[in-house]
Symmetry: C2
Subunit: 141 residues, 2 copies
DNA sequence: TTAAGGTAGATGCAAACGCATAGAACTTGA
DNA sequence: TCAAGTTCTATGCGTTTGCATCTACCTTAA
């Protein structure tokens, strides 16, 4: 077993453990973590996002994401409108209610994340950020 | 935004990117990645595993895992028998066919993992392993 | 201009998922 | 010893997922 494989296995395990831990916390209101992830991703981008862009960030198939966005639009959290420049496409953004919901959930969740990752030294945190950024392919933007 | 939150976001993103990349590869036969994950986890443990143990390693709810094991048993890849010491529980292990399947998929997948993580220096790989082990809580066993 | 090919997102459908809860087996304390 | 509480896995049920495919729109080149 190579170092690379050991590192990947360990990363997967850390991800699973932490996700379960976060998922078990009572901060999600009536959103699933996956739905929150979509709202969060939208909240980080100033301009509106394309479905395909969003899909790159979220671990969901394109059809599943399409329908999840449907539901979020129905619930008044996300705004979807046809891209005027390319009418196949779509421009997604948070509604004010969506932004509010994201923030209300995001605050306590961010505290949980901080708490969980503070088992690491500041130096390790920095190394982790550098390494994972490199792994994600460093897609500029 | 704290360092911890940045690191976590970056980790999530790396996980999503790599999982999509691996999932898109044509190495999974008629297993899903989640099913492979179960076979892989079983393959790493010498003795049989309890459902609850297995569930700690896999990002699935307990009922979903229970039914997935059902299917794997039906397909002849996993062996499930009541734990003689605690008859509520269950002992799970790979059948010979299950072990064979795991290895056949595992070989090419491991190569993909190695390729993907080799954008990191050996030192970074080592740091990543140390850090993620620490994050996973270092549950001894 | 228009036909051929490609890309973005939506939809039909069967399979899989999570939540709540049931059932069976252990444990504990009176 | 036995009732109450806990733990482990399974099951009912409505929702969500992925795969395959579809439609609509854009692009290219003849």
């Amino acid at each position: 077993m190579t170092r690379a494989n050991e590192a990947w296995e360990s990363l997967m395990r850390a991800y699973a453990v932490l996700m379960k831990q976060f998922g078990a916390e009572d901060v999600w209101g009536d959103l699933t973590m996956r739905e929150y992830d979509v709202l969060y991703t939208l909240s980080k981008c100033d301009g509106p996002l394309r479905m395909s862009e969003l899909n790159r960030h979220v671990l969901l198939s394109q059809p599943a994401l399409s329908r999840m966005v449907d539901r979020l639009v129905d619930r008044g959290l996300v705004d979807r409108c046809t891209d005027p420049g390319d009418r196949r496409g779509v421009r997604l953004s948070l509604t004010p209610a969506g932004r509010k919901t994201q923030q209300e959930i995001g605050r306590p969740h961010a505290r949980s994340v901080t708490r969980a990752l503070n088992v690491l030294t500041p130096q390790e945190l920095e190394q982790l950020a550098v390494i994972t950024r490199k792994l994600a392919g460093n897609e500029e933007r």
